[in-house]
């Protein structure tokens, strides 16, 4: 079976700075794949490049068998991908309800209602905050909202960037539990970027290590967790 998402030799630039240096990566249907790496390694750039912003300069990105490398961002996102981006980027002056509806763009109201009920089952807190403005939520609630908004489109592939950043351990556990549950119950495919490598590798089926814009290691989650160089670089010393 062909991969749901396949990157081959992808490079990306911010101005004159090359952020990605020929990335090859595959995500199969139904997998949780994690991308770990230090700050500034290019993890978030890779997530955004998949969505066409910035656009890949070389290489190809194929989603569901089709080349999406040259498509506009909104056209890519209408094909069943959703991203909960770095920094959450919820709309601060919209209510929680409106933020969620933004995720269901192009869906019929009944579908949006059903998707919203699923999001509330996952994050009951959002239901309590429905009429509150996004900008007034706590960090953990904003993260739930960002993930919930991404799920509103009922994506096949969820791109999840640093869901644990700045959150209390209890909330992190809750969010990781939700990802696992979604993957098991609905077969949702997830590409997860994390600094918290230990938890990410335990959750994921497979992982990639990104260093300075290039993939240096790949393997199953358990395999990577066992490697001494991974332990030294990403697991020990605070994470």
């Amino acid at each position: 079976m062909p991969a749901l998402l396949r990157l081959e030799g992808v490079t990306a630039f911010y101005g004159a700075i090359q952020a990605l240096k020929g990335v090859d990566l595959e995500v199969n249907q139904g997998e949780i794949v994690t991308l770990i790496g230090a700050n500034g390694a290019g993890k978030s750039t890779l997530m955004m490049t998949i969505c066409g912003t910035p656009r890949a300069r070389h290489g190809s990105i194929r989603y569901d068998g089709q080349d999406i490398t040259q498509l506009a961002t909104h056209e890519i996102m209408r094909r069943g991908l959703a991203q909960s981006p770095e920094g959450r980027r919820i709309f601060p002056r919209m209510t929680v309800h409106e933020n969620l509806l933004m995720g269901a763009r192009g869906h019929k109201p009944a579908e949006a209602e059903a998707a919203m009920a699923e999001v509330f089952a996952l994050f009951p807190r959002l239901k309590e905050r429905l009429a509150q403005r996004g900008g007034t939520l706590s960090g953990g609630e904003q993260q739930m909202l960002a993930i919930g908004r991404a799920l509103m489109s009922r994506p096949r592939l969820l791109l999840l960037d640093e869901p644990s950043l700045g959150l209390a351990p209890l909330v992190v556990r809750q969010i990781f539990g939700a990802i696992r549950e979604l993957n098991r119950a609905t077969g949702l495919t997830v590409l997860l970027v994390e600094q918290n490598a230990f938890q990410a590798l335990r959750l994921a089926h497979r992982g990639y290590v990104l260093v300075n814009g290039a993939i240096t290691m790949a393997g199953t989650g358990a395999d990577l967790l066992a490697r001494p160089e991974i332990r030294a670089a990403y697991l020990e010393g605070g994470h």
Binding site: P85, F91, P92, Q142
Partner: protein, 304 residues
């Protein structure tokens, strides 16, 4: 008392026209954070297009006022919408992502282009239209001074308030309005949610231009006389109204328009006509010192 009432009526009417133009400024500012300085000239072009349309229809023998007005307006609004779309496409979109002043300068250039185009093609003199909607209600008569409320003045207020209501609904309740607000708050995130941000911005300009045409039509009918320069003065006043009301707020735009209209009208009536603009802009300066985000502007505290 009678005199004050008449000034009130005149001021409200003037304010409604400013408010209607201000709605266009505030919508464009709301979505891309840019002052579209060509908006006043789109209003002027709208007034000219309506006048040309009415003249042509008269030539074809269509003299029924409601039908002629409706036809002329539809044609003018359609052409103005194309103008609005083209201005955004040609003068602003290539500069998106450039430094903040670039589109502003481009907008001033666009404004000059439109003014000069109309001056050259239509001439610099005033063009006149005989009153199409005559008649008025005499509200009171005090010592020989009659207070009149004309049907035209009623029409201006009704149209402005109806448009305000429709657009407030559009922005707060519809998917298009949500998409517009999403573009305003985070353009890249909006595109990550599958919104065609270029199309949404274009649509905002098209709507703004159509609104400016409504204002142009009402201005033409009310004053019966237009020239290529009306867009400049009305545009500056409407821009002031939008800032005074709180730029980005639709009700604020109309409220600001009313404030400017009333100040002008009462100052002209009781103090001096030549200084009416000084009065209006002084009030703007004073309000902004104490309420920097305008009367209805937002001053949210946002968590990061």
């Amino acid at each position: 008392m009678a005199y004050a009432l008449q000034q009130l009526i005149n001021g409200v009417t003037l304010g409604m026209i400013y408010g209607l133009i201000a709605v266009g400024y505030t919508m464009v500012y709301g979505i891309i954070g840019m002052i579209n300085f060509a908006h006043g000239d789109v209003f002027m072009v709208g007034a000219f297009l309506t006048l040309i349309g009415l003249t042509l229809l008269g030539g074809f023998g269509i003299t029924s006022v409601p039908i002629a007005l409706a036809l002329a307006f539809i044609a003018a609004a359609a052409i103005a919408a194309v103008y609005g779309w083209t201005i955004e496409r040609v003068a602003y979109r290539p500069l998106r992502g450039s430094f903040r002043l670039a589109p502003l300068i481009s907008a001033i250039g666009m404004s000059i282009v439109l003014q000069n185009f109309v001056q050259v093609s239509q001439g610099a003199r005033d063009l006149n239209l005989q009153p199409l909607i005559p008649g008025s209600i005499r509200l009171m008569n005090q010592g020989g001074f009659a207070v009149e409320l004309s049907w035209m003045q009623v029409l201006i207020s009704v149209v402005t308030l109806a448009i305000l209501a429709v657009f407030t609904w559009l922005v707060t309740r519809t998917p298009l309005g949500r998409a517009m607000r999403a573009c305003e708050q985070d353009l890249k995130m909006a595109s990550l949610l599958g919104i065609d941000t270029d199309k949404t911005i274009s649509l905002t300009f098209v709507i703004g231009a159509a609104l400016a045409t409504v204002a142009g039509l009402l201005f033409l009918l009310y004053y019966g006389s237009i020239n290529f320069f009306i867009g400049f003065s009305a545009g500056i006043k409407a821009f002031t109204a939008a800032v005074l009301g709180g730029i980005g707020s639709l009700p604020g735009a109309v409220l600001g328009g009313l404030a400017i209209g009333l100040i002008e009208s009462f100052w002209s009536g009781y103090a001096s006509v030549p200084y009416k603009n000084v009065a209006a802009f002084s009030v703007l300066a004073i309000v902004l010192i104490f309420l920097p985000s305008g009367l209805l502007g937002r001053a949210d505290v946002e968590k990061v």
